[in-house]
């Protein structure tokens, strides 16, 4: 086992951490929240300029050629530093495109940060491919259907749209500004700009082929969520440890109350186990050596742990962590919204049960 980041990974982490502490201030988070678009242009350009959006894209397309593990290190730090969610959505979009179609001609523009991709997968009442009603026209060049809760849908240049099919799903790329594409913005939890998107005979730019199959592709996306969650819970835990050492009540630091100390201890235990379980899943996914329940255990445990840690963090912060000007609530909202989208407990447990019992 080799359980330390490489020098390059550590350097990347340091750079992201430094960037976030400088650029992602609470004042800006509040501004971005008020604006409804989640991030400003200047910050978007800076991040694109750093090459982070293209880090995991193939070198042939001008990307960084980094491994899944490298990207996970980047994303863990973005989660810790509360990098605006649209930027994380763009990283997912870029990688999502590369993993489905590693030789897509569009990748070069994406790697250069000139074009961004939003993932349009879910439909209002269907989360599984078999239920998707979005369809390709008989000509193979136009797409029609309705996608729901598409992150960064309005700002992205391109939509990666999932096509339902009885056998296996297919994916196409559509220009967000093409005729027939319309977005209805949502006021959603987590202050992530999302929209319901309607495609009416919208022109297909590209049919995506040659990459991972959908199940594997989704596991790769979940791996990114795991990394983001680990970063977020580390931040919530660290903030809480700092706070209980300083805050006084009844004439003493509240860390001296055993009940407070033990809650911190349990946060620490959950964080430690979740971090290993998540990274074990990420590293085994990357090396193609996933055990039978590794991935689903990691999904169920990491998501639940992030929410639990945020809950305890809020509890121990009391009123001081509850005002809108405190970053903690951003972590808590991301915890729930990442869980809902990428690591819901029910299917993970169902898969584990099937592995054990069927």
């Amino acid at each position: 086992m080799q359980l330390e980041p490489t020098l390059e990974q550590a350097e990347m982490r340091r750079a992201v951490r430094e960037f976030c502490s400088r650029e992602v201030t609470i004042e800006r988070l509040l501004d971005w929240e008020r604006s409804g678009v989640g991030v400003d242009e200047a910050t978007s350009r800076k991040v694109a300029g750093l090459g982070w959006l293209g880090l995991g894209l193939p070198a042939e397309a001008g990307g960084g050629g980094a491994s899944l593990a490298d990207v996970a290190h980047l994303i863990e730090e973005c989660g810790r530093g509360l990098l605006p969610r649209p930027l994380l959505a763009r990283m997912r979009g870029a990688l999502g495109l590369a993993w489905l179609a590693p030789r897509s001609p569009t990748l070069a523009a994406v790697a250069r940060g000139e074009r961004t991709v939003a993932l349009a997968l879910d439909e209002r009442d269907a989360r599984e491919p078999a239920g998707w009603r979005t369809r390709l026209a008989a000509d193979g060049c136009h797409v029609s259907g309705d996608k729901a809760f598409v992150p960064d849908a309005e700002a992205a240049d391109l939509h990666l749209v999932a096509i339902g099919a009885p056998e296996r799903p297919r994916f196409v790329l559509v220009d967000r500004r093409a005729p027939g594409v319309s977005c209805a913005a949502l006021h959603s939890f987590g202050n992530e700009p999302q929209a319901h998107v309607s495609y009416r005979e919208a022109a297909v730019l590209e049919v995506l082929e040659g990459g991972l199959d959908f199940d594997d592709w989704r596991r790769h996306q979940v791996a990114l969520a795991l990394a983001e969650m680990i970063g977020g819970m580390d931040a919530a835990l660290a903030a809480t440890v700092g706070w209980v050492k300083e805050r006084e009540q009844f004439g003493q630091k509240i860390a001296l109350f055993q009940a407070v100390r033990h809650q911190v201890a349990d946060m620490g235990t959950r964080f430690t186990s979740a971090r290993h379980l998540a990274w074990q899943a990420i590293s085994r996914l990357a090396s193609g050596s996933l055990g039978v329940t590794d991935f689903h255990s990691a999904a169920a445990w990491t998501g639940a742990s992030f929410k639990q840690i945020c809950w305890t963090a809020h509890h121990l912060h009391g009123g001081a962590g509850f005002v809108v000007e405190h970053p903690l609530r951003f972590h808590s909202e991301r915890a729930q919204s990442l869980c809902i989208r990428w690591t819901p407990e029910a299917p993970a447990l169902a898969r584990i049960a099937a592995t054990l019992l069927d």
């Binding site: 989360r127 939890f189 987590g190 109350f257 809950w311 009391g318 809902i340 447990l349």
Partner: protein, 390 residues
Amino acid sequence: MDYGLSPRERAWRDEVQAFIAEHVDERLVDETRLRGNEGRGAEAQRFLGALRQRGWDRIAFPEEYGGLGKTAIEQWLFIDEIETAGAPMLPLTLTSVAPTILRIGDEAQRREWLPRIQAGEVDFALGYSESEAGTDLASLRTRAELDGDQWLVNGHKMWNTMAHMATHNWLAVRTEPDAPKHKGVSMLIVPMDAPGVSVQPIHVWPGLRTNAVFFDNVRVPRANLIGERGLGFYYAAMALNFERLSIGSAGMARRIFDALVREVRVRVVDGRPLRGDPWVRDRLARLRVELDAARLLGLEVAIRLDRGEVPAAASSMAKACVSELAQRVADTGCEILGLDGQLHAEEPSALVKGRLQWLYRLAPMLAFGGGTNEVQRDIIGFMGHGLPRK
């Protein structure tokens, strides 16, 4: 032992239900929800007026001061019905401050404040917490000094909810700087329009507004100190006693849970009814068990009040249990609703009117506010089981 209602209790509950059927409609429930259960909107005022007409605004008053002579169990039934209906609760002015003034105020003070409270002319914000005095109330620093016939008030209060709408503040102030911490506090009524009072909004995560209120050489008449000097810490506890029946009520969590169940009954995901999902079935059933159990902790409070006890341990049990259960209802509910679980109440298509994500944001406050659950558990240990303090 009989957990069924007595004929008198049944008649009372039927009366309350009939009242609710007449006076609670969707506009009131929507207003109450959108204002975060504030109960100060136009619909709420109309509802409160109807309550007043029945004299039910005096439900928590001692009988000798015009109270209805209801037992605590009857009051608990009242609260349970109001909460289940989603109507606003009676304001703390009526359920907490007024009964306290009735008990500790002198005749002149009662004559001064009670009629105006009952007429709805006077409405209090409760000014206890400060930055450095949260659960540790005895550490409060806002001070009042006697200057001739007036109290001179200086300091600030935090989490002074409703202060921007109230006419008066029911303020815990330090009047005896040399006394031991918890013996130097008194209760003072401060008009919000007095010169030197300023209100700053504080916005918190669930979208609610509370306030920081600053007192800069604010002068109030000597007679505005209610009860005895230096006993304010105990008076605050007494005022709290009158809130105990509602603080630990599982009603709100239950109402949101019931709405979630209604949604799950009809919702179809991936072509399958959501109610057929074994995970959903299991989690909802477990929450229902916990809600059934938590509700009866409220009954325990009522039983003890009717026995003439101070139900400190029982109400701490209810408060800690219900606040933590609310979080589980919210968390599980968000996950059951899936991507829809993210939608804010403002979103017209939000399932269950966005209540689950709202409760997810609100629940932490229920657990740390009003005395953290750690202190509640200490109280249960000390008062409920006689564990030693030192």
